[in-house]
């Protein structure tokens, strides 16, 4: 059994920032990362980040990951375990993890921060189980993390930021992007990303979705069609593409199973991506020693995830009795940054979602 002050699950942008903040306050931290590399989704983000200086704006995601890791390495009281998956939490507060990809280990932490991130949502349509129908994030991993050209000719389903960014990165990898489509009548992602694709000659079809994927043994053909106002396909509007990959980028869903196992009270909030924990404004859940940060608390940009990680790290340190003299200043800084990141048009959906999930404070 490992006894530790703070267990952090997930070494993505939120988990790394949480480890840095709680570690700086003096907590002994065990940071679990199921992948063999830390950084979460940062490691495959080759584009420059939005936000402002405090959230490393203009840096590319994989560079931000290196910066955060260097900070973590300076803290001897923070142990980062790779190939380590949190498996379960039991009624007596004991957590189980698979360490080094094989050995079953029990952990008794005084406090826990869940920063497990999110998974890609899927969509049901004829032919969606053909080889060649992939999540856009999976294709991005194959391409940017492992250096494998994933396809020759791609149709992208989804014009949110992931669909737009992965399409652009496919073009950078020398892949032809035949079309980006989205069921919504408006482009959901940032319009600067859309403009980058359009001036490369990639069509963006709003109010369009996939009717069918087809092929002998693997994807060969994608049929798109226009949707009416009730989001139903309009016969006669079909467009047929000869593609070897169809990327599905229809949103993310918080990976919140551990929170549910832990008995945290949950709520389904559509604008936050699915089931998320009730939490106070400082990211404490209904279980007093469990905190959350990043996409598992609601789907947002990585910039917000980093600030939330820092805030959860501060909250957990305070819970452990490790408040530093500048605690209030740091916490106020986090709150101000989050408020600012969520204050614009793009933040309206997030704020309406948070209104349903944030209680007390």
């Amino acid at each position: 059994m490992i006894h530790i002050d703070l267990l952090i699950v997930g070494a993505g942008p939120a988990g790394l920032m949480a480890a840095k903040e709680a570690g700086t306050a003096g907590a002994n931290v065990l940071l679990l990362e199921r992948s063999h590399v830390p950084g979460g989704q940062l490691v495959k983000q080759t584009h420059m980040f939005f936000g402002s200086e405090e959230q490393y704006a203009s840096y590319r995601g994989f560079d931000i990951s290196e910066i955060l890791l260097d900070e973590i390495k300076k803290l001897p009281n923070v142990k980062l375990a790779l190939n380590a998956t949190a498996l379960a939490v039991y009624d007596d507060g004991i957590w189980a993890a698979e360490m080094d990809g094989a050995s079953y280990t029990k952990i008794l932490p005084k406090a826990v921060i869940i920063a497990t991130g999110a998974g890609e949502k899927s969509l049901a349509f004829p032919g969606n189980d053909l080889p060649g129908v992939y999540g856009a994030g999976a294709v991005q991993t194959l391409m940017n993390q492992y250096g494998i050209k994933p396809a020759n000719r791609v149709v992208m389903l989804g014009a949110g930021n992931i669909g737009l960014i992965v399409s652009y990165q496919l073009l950078q990898a020398g892949v032809e992007v035949l079309a980006v489509c989205d069921g919504s009548p408006r482009i959901g992602g940032y319009l600067v990303h859309a403009a980058k694709l359009r001036r490369m000659g990639v069509p963006i079809l709003t109010s369009h979705s996939v009717k069918q994927a087809a092929g002998q043994g693997r994807l060969e053909t994608v049929v798109l069609w226009e949707l009416d106002k009730a989001w139903q396909g309009i016969p006669g509007t079909e467009k047929v593409y000869r593609a070897d990959v169809l990327c599905v980028a229809v949103g993310l869903s918080p990976l919140s199973e551990l929170l549910r196992q832990a008995g945290c009270e949950m709520v389904y909030v559509n604008t936050l991506g699915g089931y998320v924990p009730y939490r106070d404004s400082f990211l404490a859940t209904s279980r007093e020693n469990i905190f959350v940060a990043g996409d598992v608390a609601g789907i947002e940009e990585a910039s917000s995830a980093m600030v939330e990680g820092r805030l959860a790290g501060l909250s957990a340190a305070k819970f452990l009795g490790l408040s530093t003299p500048d605690f209030n200043a740091k916490r106020n800084d986090c709150m101000t940054q989050l408020e600012s990141l969520r204050s614009g048009h793009a933040g309206e959906r997030i704020l309406s979602g948070l209104a349903q999930a944030v209680i007390g404070s």
Partner: protein, 269 residues
């Protein structure tokens, strides 16, 4: 319109272009940032204070064209690649456009490339005058091209390798009536099967688990449940938030029984 097409209209482009008078005075930045998003590096990047400080991170950039001298610093900091620099004084008949270019191979100086408009249509040829790329540039190469002055508001991209983009066809393909799409990959459940079960009255996650092993495979519901809760919501006319939630038990992923059986309490460490 931009929200539907991703292409700014002519009046939107005009709204961010400096006046003809300013253009005639030499290089100047043009920022095509039409949407309020939380992002401010352009304002903090400008050493001359030409991009006015933001009161709110969601502000759109406002540029003081008299202070801007067309240096490329803001271009290398803009995550949206929304900035270019134009100089219509570059020669008698040609203007110089500097733009970020994140593709390989980078063009060679002197090379003739295709000049594209904001929809990716080839509108002219352009000569590559300069390619800037060094460590201080944030991994953003800047390519300078010389183009016909008349096209300075039209050209927004280049293409170095010329190929013909493929378009959609209208060839009919075989409809497969049986296939409604897989919802649960672990247990091979089609959307139609889930809908049939719901129609028979199995209207909770727990019942669907018992009837069809939905969510009980290696993914533990991570793939199928977001789809199924929306199907239930639609069929029952009840918001997802009001549906009963299924139970979640250890483990969150498959592990070997041998790993569990081989577990020994190591004592304190």
């Amino acid at each position: 319109m931009l929200e539907k097409t991703g292409v700014p209209t002519q009046s939107e482009i005009e709204s961010v272009f400096p006046s003809d008078e300013r253009l005639s005075k030499g290089p100047v930045a043009v920022i095509e940032c039409f949407q309020s998003i939380p992002c401010d590096p352009c304002a903090t990047a400008c050493p001359r204070g030409a991009i006015l400080p933001f009161a709110d991170i969601n502000d759109r950039p406002v540029i003081d064209n008299d202070k801007c001298n067309g240096c490329i610093l803001c271009m290398t900091k803009c995550p949206g690649l929304a900035i270019m620099v134009v100089d219509i004084t570059w020669s008698q008949d040609r203007a110089l456009i500097k733009m970020p270019y994140e593709f390989r191979p980078l063009p060679d100086v002197g090379q003739t490339v295709q000049a594209l408009d904001r929809e990716g249509t080839v509108v002219a040829e352009a000569e590559v005058i300069r390619v800037q790329y060094n460590k201080s540039m944030n991994k953003v190469p800047i390519v300078s091209i010389a183009v016909d002055k008349q096209l300075v508001k039209t050209i927004r991209n280049i293409r170095t390798i010329c190929d013909t983009p493929t378009t959609a066809t209208h060839t009919a393909i075989q409809e497969e009536a049986q296939d409604t799409g897989i919802v649960c990959r672990c247990n091979d459940l089609q959307l139609a099967e889930i809908r049939a079960l719901i129609a028979k009255g199995y209207t909770t996650i727990a019942e669907l688990k018992q009837m069809a092993r939905l969510g009980m495979g290696p993914c533990q519901g991570r793939n199928c449940l977001p789809v199924v809760v929306n199907e239930l919501s639609r069929a029952l006319g009840v918001p997802v938030a009001e549906l009963p939630v299924g139970s979640f038990r250890p483990m969150v992923k498959s592990i070997y029984l041998g790993d569990l059986a081989g577990y020994e309490e190591q004592g304190e460490n």
